[in-house]
Symmetry: C2
Subunit: 378 residues, 2 copies
């Protein structure tokens, strides 16, 4: 990180969709209170552009998942770059994005419950909303909602192709649910949705092809096959018969994607700015970023993040407002008062902790950006 | 949980300090969108009263840590019941509580950084604020702030008595820092602050007594000795020479305190209401509460929470908006659409994810309560 050079609003080539939503800062990054979530905007924007180009080359639609950033500005930027629509994981996320004028939304989760379904119906009435289902109960629930709203809802069948989350895996059950959707008033069959396990793309392909064959044998077309998952997003293996990709974390990247080789360090746009507040022993240093700033997500990694300025330091424990570092292997251990940047394990849950992320470029603070859908898990 | 009986505002004996801050609900708990954080108010209030009584019996001051609830209403209730002041972990928490009229605040963490120190000074100018330090750098920083604000700040020395977090452990270093505080313009020496490791109260007592002896040998009094920690809060062992206790989690309790035997199940006030949204296999059920509702905090436990209605179910994995349950040991496995309540591992980080918690009593929704200091980690 170059030395701070003061407040430099709009001196870099920020996209207008982001620039117009920045809350300007009249201070330098050096006086920002810690902890703070920093987003390097040129890196994030380059990540968006690179992935859009890749989708275009591969001939697949890009439907980015906005759960990572939960910010209207970035969603609009993704659309501007060529995404045909977005993916959301909750009705609340969909409401925020529809409020911003985004009209093509896939809600990639089963929706149940009277009040939630009523909101789903209201959302469907004002945008082109698609939903998913993996059971007759969910199909019937969203069908009732669509009919009550006087609208037609596209519904995808969620398939478990190795991820072992939600979703059906038996081709005949998948075909039966697709037929149920196609035969239900108020619904149309949208296609297949899956989230494959990392490293199992070929297995996912085989499962999708069997499901597609079963659906075609039942006399139905499969308009869209949508997949997701950041770890394998750059792999061509097993991509066919996919026609659409839902990637989320790629905008910011994080330590988990760095560890998997999916992203390089200079493609990681999010860091958590923290201060060394204590050096109680020769081996221990403490930062003012804990589980309320970094979360306890490990994603299979050792440690809760990487201190960029002291990569030998091990972030071995988080309390709520403190992170504990083993600095015994650092050649130049951190000193009290020093400010450091931590690459978090998991970008999506970190953004969800703050009302605003701080937009920076080359160590300069450009402004604050609202995390508009923060906390909208319902 | 008894069956819902509809909206029943103020039909139970809620304390006025809570009641006056409730945002009324005109719906039943059965139509609340999930996930939602529920707080059983009578249980929480009983937890507060029981602990206040215990402090009175033990002859120690109660200075509750508001980091767990981060809600003004509960902080005022704690004061009303007899707390002499509160503990906060961040300047932001202190600002929110001072805005609500609370005037006796211990900020139990080292404070550094120009902008943060300026806010510390502004906070000290409008309430009786005490701070802590474990290094000369922090003492000098807060002293400069106090002098610039024209106020006097009480400063505690943080001692590591076995918790291995922040804090000094060598009695002569502790005495030297106390002397530095006492000899610095703008500061007075407040006493000793520690957070002992769970189960090491006797070790903590011995360390505190050695530190006190060293400070007295240097010619200083130790006005207050303040300790914390929920796991051992009901243990008398090693309590002397403590004069003040900072407990936080006891208001809500959680699965970690249940597992330690610190709280009984009927003393746990916080649950996360969730819906079973998928039953993809005979062994797997999926709830719509994931790491953005429960967090990945394990606190040494297996699993991410306990489903009260299905205690044999194992919550073995969280994705951001989904929790995966192994229901193979359930005699009556959950069905799609069923609503369940999850006892979270760690109450403090769960409350921090939501703008409002839902106040309930005996299965009835009484209203919503703001988590006023949510996200205020800076």
């Amino acid at each position: 990180m170059p030395a701070s050079t003061g407040y430099a609003p709009l001196m870099i080539d920020l996209p207008q969709s982001l620039r117009s939503r920045l809350q300007p800062a009249d201070r330098t990054i050096d006086t920002l209170e810690t902890p703070a979530v920093l987003i390097d905007a040129p890196i994030a924007d380059a990540n968006l552009r690179r992935w859009q180009d890749r989708c275009a080359r591969a001939g697949i639609a890009n439907r980015p998942h906005i759960k990572t950033h939960r910010s209207v500005a970035w969603a609009l930027r993704q659309m501007e770059l060529g995404a045909g629509g977005i993916t959301v994981q909750t009705v609340g996320e969909g409401e925020v994005m529809a409020d911003a004028g985004i009209t093509d939304i896939l809600l990639a989760t089963n929706t149940l419950g009277e009040a939630k379904l009523a909101r789903l119906g209201a959302l469907a009435a004002r945008c082109d909303l698609a939903a998913v289902a993996d059971s007759a109960a969910v199909v019937d629930a969203v069908a009732g909602t669509a009919r009550a709203a006087g609208s037609t809802l596209r519904v995808f069948v969620e398939c478990d192709t190795g991820g072992a989350r939600c979703g059906l895996s038996d081709p005949s059950e998948i075909a039966a649910l697709a037929s149920r959707i196609a035969g239900t008033d108020g619904l149309t069959f949208g296609g297949l949705m899956t989230y494959p396990a990392a490293g199992l793309r070929a297995q996912s392909r085989d499962a999708l092809e069997k499901a597609i064959a079963a659906i075609r044998a039942a006399g139905l077309d499969v308009p869209v096959v949508t997949t997701g998952g950041s770890p394998d997003m750059w792999s061509d293996e097993g991509l066919a018969p996919v026609s659409e990709y839902r990637a989320g974390t790629y905008i910011y990247n994080d330590r988990s994607l760095l560890a998997r080789g999916t992203a390089a360090l200079d493609e990681c746009a999010m860091t958590v700015l923290a201060t060394i507040v204590s050096r109680p022993t020769a081996d221990r240093a403490i930062i003012d970023a804990g589980s309320k700033a970094l979360t306890s997500d490990l994603l299979g990694l050792d440690g809760y993040g990487m201190v960029l300025e002291h990569p030998q330091a091990v972030l071995y424990q988080l309390n709520e407002e403190h992170g504990l570092l083993d600095v015994s292997r650092c050649t130049t251990p951190p000193r009290v008062g020093e400010r450091v940047r931590v690459l978090p394990n998991h970008a999506c849950v970190v953004a969800n902790l703050v009302d605003r992320v701080m937009i920076v470029s080359e160590g300069r603070l450009l402004g604050a950006l609202a995390v508009d859908a923060r906390g909208r898990s319902a």
